[in-house]
């Protein structure tokens, strides 16, 4: 073993052929982009179905913009949920936290301070609820499922109490909130831009920062992450706070779209968000996933809802279709994962 003692860089075993995937640039996380082709295909397919079944209504700009506006609320929540799930957790409380934030922001007291304070209030309430869940999970060592289930129930209850089970209207002097969904820039309402901004920021955070990389590490192998010097608990706490923040933003969007705050907002959003994340290719066990996939998942679901409404079909059929789509998407991904790698 004389060579190795002298030089560590010695390549004693002759030339090595460069495999075709060994191109420079990016440590990458595998053939991620290819995986999304299926979802893009599904979107295209649903679009064709829309054009064929409702040629007069589907391709109108009003309908397409409506789809995006509809997707904005759940989309923003899904961005947060993607982080939590990649980080090895789950957040069942998203819908309830959004409802709580919308109610808190529309109480008479909050409304008296004007629209900016309302928005800040929604964000603070959302983030605060996320912090509480995160503390329980990271430092109280509760299982995420349990902690966020408790938050789901408690946040709904608190929202009901604050609103006295009544739908609270955004008052006319605060119509700046509603303007977020009525004001259009380049034909798109502002809420769509909020969604886009959150999605882009989330993508950058996940793929271009140390925080994102550590999220994958914490979700993939928390023990290894800890031994690599990552503060796993603090990171976990941050992930739930991030999810709560997204719920707060989503509350602003739903207030803008409905001009109300209500304890019934966002019912079962947690399931829609998790479903979108899963069909987007994120592992429910953590450590692997993409934000682009989650966004595509949201769009697929929203498009289905839209098609069913346009065609005047039952919501029950819509739910069945969504269930089928989840199963098909996951089955396709598993096949897709197996062949290229």
């Amino acid at each position: 073993m004389t060579d190795a003692g002298v030089s560590l860089t010695e390549k004693a075993r002759g030339p090595r052929p460069k495999p075709p995937w060994a191109r420079p640039g990016g440590t990458g996380r595998g053939p991620g982009e290819i995986r999304h082709l299926g979802l893009v295909g599904a979107l295209v397919l649903l679009g064709i179905v829309g054009v064929v079944t409702e040629p007069d209504n589907f391709l109108t700009s009003g309908n397409l913009v409506g789809i995006l506006a509809l997707a904005a609320t759940i989309g923003v929540i899904t961005v947060g949920a993607t982080f939590v799930i990649i980080g090895g957790g789950i957040d069942l409380s998203v819908g309830a936290v959004m409802a709580l934030a919308s109610v808190w922001a529309t109480t008479l007291a909050t409304q008296s301070y004007g629209p900016v304070v309302m928005a800040v209030c929604a964000i603070l309430v959302g983030t605060g609820a996320g912090l509480v869940s995160g503390l329980l999970i990271a430092y109280g060592r509760l299982v995420p499922f349990i902690a966020t289930l408790a938050m789901l129930v408690a946040a709904r209850g608190l929202a009901q109490r604050l609103s006295d089970r009544k739908t609270q209207l955004v008052r006319p002097e605060n119509d700046a909130i509603e303007a977020l969904s009525t004001t259009k820039v380049l034909g798109l309402p502002l809420v769509v831009y909020i969604f886009a901004a959150v999605a882009v920021a989330g993508w950058l955070l996940l793929n271009r920062t140390t925080f994102g990389r550590r999220t994958f590490a914490v979700g993939g192998n928390p023990e290894a992450a800890r031994l690599a010097g990552i503060n796993v608990r603090r990171h976990t706490l941050t992930l739930y706070a991030l999810s709560g923040l997204c719920c707060g933003i989503a509350a602003i969007i739903i207030m803008a779209r409905t001009t109300t705050g209500s304890s019934t907002h966002g019912d079962l959003y947690e399931l829609d968000a998790i479903a979108a994340v899963i069909i987007g290719g994120t592992l429910l066990t953590g450590g692997r996933g993409t934000l682009a996939g989650s966004i595509l998942g949201v769009l697929v679901f929203t498009l289905i809802t839209n098609l069913f409404i346009l065609n005047g079909l039952q919501t029950s059929d819509q739910l069945i279709a969504k269930g089928v789509i989840i199963v098909i998407a996951v089955l396709l991904q598993r096949r897709g994962l197996r062949s290229p790698t």
Binding site: M1, W21, G25, T27, G28, R29, T209, F216, A228, G229
Partner: protein, 539 residues
């Protein structure tokens, strides 16, 4: 297609082989893992498989276990061709495999694990009493009657889990048992027991395919040896006892390995103290441990598994919080129980369990290398990925990680290469020429004298060569010494006494949580150390 010279000494004829593999080939994308391997195993023999990491041993035994389907070739059992379509088919054919990473379910009881997949049951109801009786009998036969069949497997030590795995193999009435590095997790006396069990099995006509990197073991227990290299059997059926070591190593590596531990100048006596441990105590694990490591010094801890070696390392690193005592790095105390603080102060650790403690199995090689040093490539949390990848490539080159591809999923690498990935994590930037360093080596990198390897001050290695073959071991040894030569303090634990003696400048012998001896490595030899290690247990 087939290798030119298989079976050099006509082993095919004399006793009818129990297992015969012919021209087994298996390809994975980009890799030809097996390229026409032949293997004959006779009943009642211990047939050793040798080969470097990536030579194809793991793939070959996975073919035997039914976990992989070969692309080409045939498998004959008792002369009749069989198709091992899955693990169940293999077990039904009488082939049981004990994997290196034990495949036990931690949450189940010992008995449940032994009969997992072929539960003692009637009309779908498990027969717990029968299972426990059977388990007790099997464990007794293995000389470990003290393991309770109802106990939870997760609470057993590594050696105990090994025994449970073995009992599971026996419960299948296996005619052929494949053991992938069974001794890797075992301490000295447990290996003796393992060998006793193997001898009993072979006396009953059971054949054993035995994989180990320890040549001494192969001499002791093996009958014949097949050497794999680059997916081919370069020699089949060599006599295990009489083939010279040099010849075996030459076959494995294609080169001579003369001296694995070349002489190294001792670190200068006035080298500054990097690590000082004072009266460190972790209740129930170790007590009042004090020692120091100087810059450029390699200190080895020798002791039995369970003597507290790993716990000492983990406490120094902050992965466990000490009950009492202090850890000082460069003269300043390190915040206890905080691995983040340890890393920022310049500690790095390669833990004992690679898969569960070190690797991010979903990640690429690159992602695994940089996970602990991301601050190096970021400003305000923003990653500079080009610089990151450049550094990863440099590490891959420096440590000869194969295949040399930062984007490859780390799970596809062999054990030795995975270990190199873990080492590379702490060596980021270490091979840069002086002066060419990127700015900002670390947030509070010490501006002490000659900060080497970007502030890496102390490297902690727990069983650095577990599951690593002879050739790659030598490379790892060279890397460790090279690092010490650059002034990094190294603290290491190994179950292999020669490794500790060969690598370390100073040796601490740990027994039952106490340091019982501390002295220069060159004043010790293997029997002396073994004596000190075992003394307590012999009482």
């Amino acid at each position: 297609m087939g290798p030119a010279k298989s079976r050099p000494d006509g082993t095919g004829t004399d006793p009818e082989p129990l297992l015969r593999m012919r021209g087994i080939a298996k390809r994975f994308p980009g890799v030809r893992a097996l390229d026409g391997v032949d293997l004959d195993v006779r009943p009642g023999e211990v047939h050793c498989l040798l080969g470097q990491n990536g030579a194809g041993k793991s793939t070959l035994i996975k073919v035997l276990a039914g976990a992989h389907q070969p692309d080409e070739g045939e498998i004959l059992l008792d002369g009749a061709p069989v198709r091992l379509t899955g693990p169940t088919a293999a077990m039904r054919a009488g082939i049981a495999t004990i994997y290196q990473e034990l495949d036990l379910v931690d949450g189940l009881s010992v008995a449940d694990n032994i009969y997992l997949g072929h539960e003692r049951a009637r009309y779908g109801f498990t027969r717990r009493a029968a299972a426990e009786r059977g388990a007790r009998e099997l464990l007794g036969r293995l000389g470990h009657g003290e393991i309770a069949p109802r106990g939870e497997v997760g609470r057993l030590p590594a050696a105990g889990k090994q025994v449970v795995s073995m009992a599971r193999a026996l419960s299948h009435r296996a005619r052929l048992i494949v053991m992938d590095e069974p001794s890797a997790a075992l301490a000295h006396d447990e290996v003796t027991n393992l060998f006793r069990i193997i001898r009993e099995l072979t006396a009953d006509g059971v054949a054993v395919v035995y994989i180990s990197h320890r040549l001494e073991e192969i001499r002791e227990i093996g009958d014949r040896v097949t050497v794999l290299k680059d997916g081919r059997a370069v020699a089949g059926g060599l006599p295990a006892r009489s083939t010279p070591t040099g010849r075996v190593v030459e076959l494995m590596t294609g080169r001579d390995v003369e001296d694995v531990f070349p002489a190294r100048p001792a670190p200068a006596g006035d080298a500054p103290e990097v690590l000082r441990v004072e009266d460190l105590t972790l209740a129930g694990a170790f007590e009042d441990v004090s020692f120091s490591v100087r810059a450029g010094e390699i200190v080895g801890l020798a002791g039995l598994v369970g003597a507290g070696r790993s716990e000492i390392l983990e406490t120094v690193y902050g992965a466990r919080r000490a009950t009492r005592g202090r850890v000082l790095l460069d003269g300043r105390p390190v915040r206890p129980g905080d691995t983040g603080a340890a890393v920022r102060r310049g500690m790095g650790m390669a833990p004992e369990e690679r898969k569960s403690q070190a690797l991010l199995l979903n990640e690429t090689v690159g992602g695994n290398v940089t996970v602990a040093g991301l601050n190096r490539y970021s400003s305000f949390g923003w990653l500079n990925r080009r610089r990151e990848v450049a550094d990863v490539r440099r590490q891959i080159e420096a440590l000869d990680i194969r295949p040399p591809d930062p984007r490859r999923p780390v799970v596809t690498l062999s054990g030795g290469n995975q270990q190199k990935v873990v080492l590379a994590r702490w060596l980021l930037g270490a091979d840069l020429p002086p002066g060419g360093e990127p700015p900002g080596g670390g947030p509070d990198g010490p501006d002490g004298p000659a900060a080497p390897a970007h502030g890496l001050r102390l490297l902690i290695l727990d069983e650095p060569t577990r599951g690593v073959d002879v050739g790659a071991r030598a490379e790892l040894y060279a890397v460790i010494r090279e690092l010490a030569g650059r002034g990094i303090a190294v603290l290491l634990v190994s179950s292999e006494v020669p490794e500790v003696l060969g690598l370390a400048d100073r040796v601490l012998v740990v027994r039952e949580g106490k340091v019982v001896h501390s002295g220069a490595a060159r004043e010790l030899d293997e029997p002396a150390v073994l004596n000190m290690i075992m003394e307590g247990s012999a009482l």
